[in-house]
Symmetry: C2
Subunit: 402 residues, 2 copies
């Protein structure tokens, strides 16, 4: 029997208990051990809950119980969660987590502690919710040099953009509705400003490179400036707008990492990823493109990923599962030096100025009298931005093309 | 160092050698061992080939060399490949294969022999080419009861259907062109009649159930009767036509397994899988839908999957990797008893007869004078087929709806 402690009895933590209970026989068989939830750590009590008797308030009860083999950290944050994870690993207890913030910030350190204590730190649920992506990168695409990863990694923003596209609605209105439905937080900044996607691409790109990608150094731009009008032009030109988290090897030394809204062609596989779904598009040097698609959030999908980590730990008791993510920082490219093409929307009155600023591009009209669209040629980001900003308030928006 | 023998120096076999060579440092690191191709078994000689000196003609050289740890079986067929695989496993040499025919036919037996000899029989490349799907099913979706798997598993037929849709061309013309381009075999039966997809869904559904799904018992229908006219109606109704390989749990005892062309809505994730790409759509009871997409064939993608198996074997030398696929046969449902809706295309002259045969359906016209389309209500397959056949030659085609 393998004893499990769940840290945090919130959405994901209670989901972990539910998944283990619902699929009991099957999960035990896959784990090649009977799994037993022995403790649930939470500050609160849960009178009447079927697992009421398992609830403890002191982490030391778990830490000092040698019969606990695996800890599921579903608390979130980088304070207590960090301390508890470290302590558990130092005692040789494997830790399975959904905490992307902690993984992005302390992943390589915690992996090292796990290795030193013959246990494992697994984090399938930290990216893409229930979509298997960490394990495919670590176990499946092992014959590949992965050259690029492009993900739709945040369900809230993808829901908002999908709805804006479908209904021609504006950002603020859709955000408000998403908040009312519980699809967006009351403080939506981490989602809509791209920080959540940034942490996730930091994790994926670290695994891609085997080095550490510092999430604080990743260029990150959110979706708050995308408008209904932008979608009108995007549609006319055969595109949609998605918040993409990208990592791309430029050469042996340098990697581009960024989070921003992009225009992508409607026939790109990522364009059909709508609403709260997530997807990760991976390009390898032998395999070419592959994509992993599914529910990027939600209680049971996320919990399912945590439990798949528990199964993996149970199968590998006392053995270290291979994961390459060194502490050495990866060198990230200066985004200003990267060439791209850009879509610009501007007041009709400055059409000539826009065409002069970005010669060789292509105008796009959709029968609107107030503005027009323009696709620039390929140019470095810093040159584009300088010219864009010099045009002042008459240019209304800009979106990068993939 | 891990010594490898490659059986068959054809497309996939030479790809295996190329992947190991091209990504050498990286693959060795992931394998946690240096990989060395020691032998290549082929009946032919390869004068001038950089691996010429590794070529042997007698399998016993490989079998009796105790320093060979892993055998890559890329010969195909169920004759010599079966004997060699069995003998290698009995000697404790792990075998990695791309041979779907052999895996579908003898998978559980070979897995058992591997288990008994503390080695592994891995077959990631047997389904979906380079798309990681076997390992996600075995290692990632371990917290799920998988309820359904729907795949586009054959690149040749998907290429043909994509081209028919895009160009309004007829099956025979596109097949001829695909043969000229090398996308279809000169004898295309295994692809266009669905046999290849059938073997692959037999493998996937066996892993889904943990029991053996006999490919010979899977209802299989190919794409040879799909016409350009069918695509005209499909498009008008918001559908496309795909050859789908499906397995679905009906209850604890019975599973539906079939291969056939289906009408699927254009906004279904599988609808955007075009040309030679493959995808596997998996539905779990916790995670819901997830999808795995990529190149389902080709030298390097398939070889990449074989090498990922080699890496897995290298990491698990002397240890058996968990895989549930018992010899016990799974019970497959009688397809005649399954309810579905159907699209029928018939001569305009028999419109009344069709509407009477399938009351409660819905007609679809696209401005063609020679035929019309009709969607039936939900009905059992055997009832539909009886009525369809009774209508005689004036009904031109029928396609199931997903």
């Amino acid at each position: 029997m393998i004893n499990i402690a769940v840290l945090g009895y919130g959405t994901v933590g209670s989901g972990v208990v539910e998944v283990i209970e619902t699929n009991k026989g099957m999960v035990d068989k896959k784990a090649t051990h009977k799994l037993n939830v022995k403790y649930i750590l939470d500050l609160r009590d849960f009178p009447g809950d079927p697992y009421e008797s398992k609830v403890v308030h002191d982490f030391n009860v778990i830490l000092n119980d040698d019969s606990v083999n695996i800890v599921c950290e579903t608390m979130g944050g980088v304070g207590a969660a960090y301390q508890f994870t470290k302590q558990a690993l130092e005692k040789g207890k494997s830790v399975c987590t959904s905490n992307k913030e902690l993984v992005a910030k302390h992943g390589p350190e915690l992996l090292e502690i796990a290795r030193e204590h013959d246990c494992n730190y697994l984090f399938e649920a930290s990216v893409g919710g229930g979509i298997p992506i960490i394990r495919p990168l670590n176990y499946s695409l092992t014959a590949e040099r992965i050259d690029a990863i492009t993900g739709i990694l945040n369900g809230t923003t993808n829901y908002i953009l999908s709805k804006m596209e479908r209904e021609g609605a504006d950002f603020a209105d859709v955000l408000k509705e998403a908040q009312e439905k519980g699809y967006a937080e009351r403080n939506p900044e981490a989602d809509v400003e791209g920080h959540d996607a940034c942490r996730k691409i930091a994790i994926l790109s670290s695994l891609m490179l085997g080095k550490n990608v510092n999430s604080e150094k990743i260029f990150t731009e959110g979706i708050t400036k995308i408008t209904a009008a932008d979608f009108v032009y995007a549609k006319e030109a055969g595109y949609t707008v998605k918040l993409l988290a990208r990592a791309k090897r430029l050469n042996d030394d340098e990697t581009l990492a960024m989070v921003a809204p992009f225009l992508i062609p409607k026939d790109h596989p990522l364009a059909m990823v709508n609403d709260v779904f997530n997807a990760v598009f991976v390009t390898g040097n032998m395999l070419g493109d592959s994509m992993y698609y599914g529910r990027g959030a939600g209680k049971l999908p996320t919990a399912s990923a945590v439990v798949s980590d528990v199964v993996d730990c149970a199968r590998h008791q006392g053995k270290v599962i291979t994961c390459f993510w060194d502490k050495e920082d990866a060198k990230l490219a200066d985004i200003g030096e990267i060439e791209k093409t850009y879509f610009v929307r501007a007041k009709i009155s400055v059409r000539q100025k826009v065409e002069e600023a970005f010669p060789g591009g292509k105008a796009l009209t959709v029968g609107r009298s107030e503005d027009f669209g323009y696709f620039t040629g390929a140019m470095k980001e810093k040159e584009f931005m300088a010219k864009y900003e010099a045009l002042g308030e008459d240019v209304l928006s800009r979106i990068r093309l993939i």
